[in-house]
């Protein structure tokens, strides 16, 4: 990211020449309101980035633009050195992208068929087991809790096997054991060489899990740096904001 310290050395040093995400001046508006304003982002492949900010700061919009769900009104975006195209980044969003009337297994089967991957029960069951839905795969999604939908949504993203994974509020709707499971999953994905971007309010937790951090406020980038420094940066921003309100 522009203005950041040099990336750390380590297991992902080989990938550092390749930028997984390269965005310049990304802007997006809904009607008259700008949700993103000129956001720059440079993330080397294989690294993990946490995007933090208050509600309405533009985190979800940024992830949807990176995934290709939303077309930016201004700016340029390249993924893995190429102009952006859908399918290179998988998104786990607030919406589950699933059909309530179908079972978890059927939802995964549809995804597999769209991707041209094997879609037999024996191919998909391990994925359901991995996200903890192995015993409930044949139940219809309408009977799932919000946390189970989130897990199914993750299974869908894992099936896509894209080089970049975008997780919007991955801890949302999960129970406490689910938090640790997400942490392990992110570590596993990074070991597989994936680039992971997480948008979350879990600043402390993600500062330990990620390499880099980006802080958004009103759709603008207000701070970027090593993830370890994010909690302090977040506190400083809150302090500035509360003083501004007091004045």
């Amino acid at each position: 990211m522009h203005g950041m310290p040099a990336p750390r050395t380590g297991p992902h040093a080989m990938n550092e020449t390749l930028l997984a995400i390269e965005a310049r001046g990304l802007s997006k508006r809904y009607g008259r309101n700008w949700a993103l304003v000129g956001v720059d982002l440079r993330l080397p492949a294989g690294e993990a980035l946490v995007v933090a900010g208050r509600n309405g700061s533009g985190k979800s919009t940024l992830l949807r633009v990176l995934a290709g769900s939303l077309r930016p009104d201004r700016g340029e975006l390249r993924l893995l050195g190429e102009p952006h195209r859908k399918g290179r980044a998988s998104l786990v969003s607030h919406a589950s992208f699933t059909y309530d009337a179908l079972s978890g297994m059927e939802n995964l089967r549809i995804t597999a068929q769209f991707l041209g991957r094997p879609s037999g029960r024996e191919d998909l069951q391990p994925l359901l087991d991995r996200v903890g839905l192995g015993a409930r795969g044949d139940d219809r999604v309408q009977a799932y809790s919000a946390g189970m939908r989130k897990r199914l949504s993750l299974a869908r993203a894992l099936l896509q096997d894209a080089p970049i994974l975008l997780l919007d509020e991955p801890y949302g709707q999960l129970d406490p054991p689910g938090f640790g499971w997400i942490d392990r999953l992110v570590r596993e994905l990074r070991e597989e060489g994936k680039t992971v971007v997480l948008a979350s309010h879990q600043v402390e937790r993600l500062s330990r899990l990620c390499d880099r951090a980006l802080l958004l406020e009103g759709g603008q980038r207000v701070w970027a740096g090593p993830a370890a420094e994010l909690p302090a940066a977040f506190d400083r921003l809150e302090e500035v904001r509360s003083k501004a309100v007091a004045v």
Partner: protein, 221 residues
């Protein structure tokens, strides 16, 4: 073709799971036919003459319910956005969905034919040809219907907007379908039904490719 097949199978599966709604669409169409028969009165000749027209009126109104439902499922958890994010071409998703909608509307039409025969007594001689016209006419409603249902699904008042967008566009389909159906049911000594069927074929030849091209612009934000 792989994505078209996958989208088609997915929509058929969803229709099967929502077969209660499918039945409601048929019942709605049958009720319309019944009400219209009461409006005309007991004159057997008039009923027979209007049978083809009323079948298509019932089918058109029923189609808006079926088309709206097919996109409600896609918007519920933004499932269609998920499919697009897999890298699927919007046109492939369109053709899978339009084919499934065509099959659905054709099945509704087939279910309404016996109701029409009982209520309007047009005879059974032209039924074979009518089924052929039904296939062409429902295809003519399905392609622009799927496109406009996708457009209307992005706003809250979709059930109001869809007929406003769709009905004017499918007027040529309705005229051709009603004329050819009536000719087939009442007798067609001059062989005019063929010309109307060709018009339906031409409409489909234009609108199926056109709607496939436009679907991406309609569905993507």
């Amino acid at each position: 073709m792989r994505v078209v097949r996958a989208a088609f199978r997915k929509d058929l599966l969803l229709s099967w799971r929502g077969r209660a709604q499918g039945m409601a669409v048929v019942v709605f169409g049958a009720t319309l036919l019944l009400l219209l028969s009461f409006a005309v009165g007991p004159n057997a000749t008039t009923l027979r003459q209007l049978a083809g027209g009323f079948l298509w009126v019932a089918l058109l109104f029923s189609s808006t319910l079926a088309l709206t439902e097919s996109f409600r499922l896609e918007r519920e958890h933004r499932a269609i956005e998920g499919l697009l994010l897999l890298g699927a071409h919007p046109a492939a998703i369109f053709y899978g969905k339009a084919l499934a909608n065509w099959l659905h509307l054709f099945a509704v039409g087939l279910a309404l034919i016996p109701v029409m025969v009982v209520l309007y007594d047009p005879g059974l001689s032209g039924i074979g040809g009518l089924i052929g016209i039904l296939a062409l006419g429902t295809a003519g409603i399905s392609a622009p219907g799927t496109l406009h249902a996708g457009l209307a699904s992005q706003i809250r008042a979709q059930q109001v907007l869809l007929p406003l967008l769709l009905f004017p566009l499918v007027v040529p389909v309705l005229i051709a379908a009603v004329r050819s159906s009536s000719l087939l049911l009442l007798g067609d000594p001059m062989g005019q039904a063929r010309s109307w069927a060709l018009l339906l074929l031409a409409f489909n030849g234009i609108f199926w490719p056109l709607c496939g091209l436009l679907f991406g612009h309609v569905i993507e934000e």
